[in-house]
């Protein structure tokens, strides 16, 4: 048996780090968008306070959602880059 424990440990660590960056980072970013959207809408909040609609917060929320969408799009292209190169002959620099 030749099991390379060091390489298993390294892979595990990188899976955890990348997992946290993308798998927890994206929901965090998305949450930020939700918060901005909630602020942007104004109206009556859970604590009973009433705020005016805030267009700046609403625009910012769309910007945040756009970033999330771009990351997901990158992810999609990343999964499909082999097939894109096979069917369309385009080599994506991902």
């Amino acid at each position: 048996m030749d099991i390379d424990l060091t390489s298993i440990a390294t892979s595990t660590l990188s899976v955890i780090v990348v997992g946290i960056l993308l798998g927890a980072g994206l929901p965090l970013l998305f949450s930020l968008g939700i918060v901005l959207q909630d602020r942007g809408a104004g109206g009556e909040h859970a604590d009973g306070s009433i705020t005016a609609p805030n267009p700046a917060a609403r625009y910012a929320s769309w910007a945040v959602f756009a970033v999330v969408a771009l990351v997901v799009l990158y992810g999609l292209l990343f999964i499909t880059k082999g097939s894109i190169s096979h069917y369309l002959g385009i080599e994506l620099p991902l």
Binding site: M1, G23, P27, I34, L76, I79
Partner: protein, 423 residues
């Protein structure tokens, strides 16, 4: 599509004039069985992607399985660089680089090993589905191959270090990795959105949930349909109809891709409702922020892990993520009894599928030839049919998949049937 791929089949058949031999019959049964495995792989894993969206109501059950099926189909077609070395992490019957069969292994033995391995994988998949337990289809396949390989070649035929490093260790680690990522994600989500109005939060995260669940479905189609494609290709290589050089040059014959992508999509559409229910309702009571964090964690890990040198099972990752989303949310309750049974199921997957694979190989080998192959196929049909009949006594489908979860453990109790009628 690519003409060179389509053109392969005719050429291959012409170069083998005596195709209607017993070996061809065995090969055909093997292909049918492989497609059946792919189908069980589909419905066993629908829940990995869609259970959270169904449980939180982000998608209606039928819409969820249809979306997942389409994405699995697309994913299957995206599999152009299929590894035909699918058995190399557990067996020593193929060259690890080219996928060619090891010298000294005759066609019939090789085909029987693959055939019996598939039967072991299918029966374990069906049995765990009956119990509503998510278990890894890749592990079921590896277990079946392991048992069949042991029965045929003894311990020398097993790639022990591959089994440990590429199958067992990742399986032990993946639920913890996924659980950690999802727990951190959920904790952050609830921390950041604590002032947001509940209805807005719930609605907003539903979109995120659908998007992340779609990513998991697509990744599943690309990853898992490939395994069956690899198995069928290996069967063809063993039979001599296809060579590893031809695959290297032209890619897989297109009918294999169509068959496998179609089977996994159909399986996904039928939906393993029993497993969806366990994942979505049994483990943790989920709401949409949790669902999104769980699927984001699953998607991120499934999509990146193989590039980072560690291939993790979709099922282990998805389950770990869902549990993590319960652990990370303040005040949420995880039904550890259900989780514990899943872990027992995972630990049993390799040995149980191996036993079925080994017994099947012995039976098939004892009779030998076409008769043995038909006998093995008959065993599969009878055993599969029995499990299906048992499942019908307590149906779980799209109408009762979200019924209240009773008790601490797994179900398969009479309450479910009545709960379904009320729902």
């Amino acid at each position: 599509m690519n003409g060179s791929i389509g053109g392969w089949h005719g050429g291959g058949a012409r170069s083998h004039p005596d195709v209607m031999t017993g070996e061809l019959v065995i090969l055909l049964l093997l292909i049918v069985t492989a497609v059946a495995f792919d189908f069980t792989n589909g419905f066993h894993d629908t829940g990995n992607a869609m259970a959270t969206s169904i449980a939180t109501g982000a998608l209606k059950p039928k819409v969820a399985v249809a979306l997942s099926a389409i994405l699995n189909l697309v994913g299957g077609f995206l599999s152009v660089e299929v590894a035909v070395t699918v058995t190399t992490s557990v067996l020593k019957i193929q060259d690890t680089d080219t996928g060619a069969l090891m010298a000294g292994l005759d066609a019939e033995t090789a085909m029987f090993i693959i055939f019996a391995g598939l039967v072991g994988g299918i029966l374990w998949n069906l049995f765990t589905w009956l119990l509503g337990l998510p278990s890894s289809s890749s592990h079921a396949l590896f277990g079946g191959l392991l048992g069949a390989g042991l029965a045929a070649l003894g311990t020398a035929g097993i790639n022990w270090s591959g089994l440990t490093a590429k199958v067992i260790i990742p399986a032990l680690l993946s639920p913890f990795i996924a659980g950690l990522v999802a727990a951190i994600g959920v904790w952050l989500v609830f921390r950041v959105t604590r002032g947001v109005r509940e209805a807005r939060r719930e609605r907003g995260f539903r979109y995120g949930q659908i998007a992340t669940a779609s990513l998991v479905s697509l990744a599943h189609g690309t990853g898992d349909a490939q395994k069956t494609m690899g198995v069928i290709a290996l069967g063809l290589i063993a039979h001599g109809t296809l060579s590893d050089q031809e695959i290297e040059a032209n890619g897989l014959p297109v009918w294999i891709i169509v068959l496998c992508a179609g089977a996994i999509a159909l399986g996904t559409y039928l939906g393993g409702w029993r497993i969806i229910r366990t994942l979505g309702k049994g483990l943790v009571e989920l709401d949409s922020p949790q669902g999104m964090a769980a699927e984001a964690s699953s998607a991120a890990i499934i999509l990146t892990s193989s590039h980072l040198g560690m291939a993790l099972s979709t099922t282990h990752v998805a389950t770990g993520s869902i549990i993590g989303s319960g652990v990370g949310r303040p005040g949420a309750k995880v039904r550890w009894g259900v989780a514990g049974r899943m872990v027992v199921g995972w630990l049993m997957t390799l040995p149980a599928a191996a036993i079925v694979g080994a017994v099947t190989y012995f039976v098939g080998h004892l009779v030998g030839g076409v008769g043995g192959a038909f006998l093995v196929f008959g065993i599969l049909v009878v055993a599969g049919g029995a499990i299906y009949r048992r499942s019908q006594q307590q149906k779980v489908d799209h109408t009762n998949v979200n019924a209240e979860w009773e008790g601490e453990g797994t179900e398969l109790a009479p309450e479910l049937a009545t709960a379904g009628k009320d729902a």
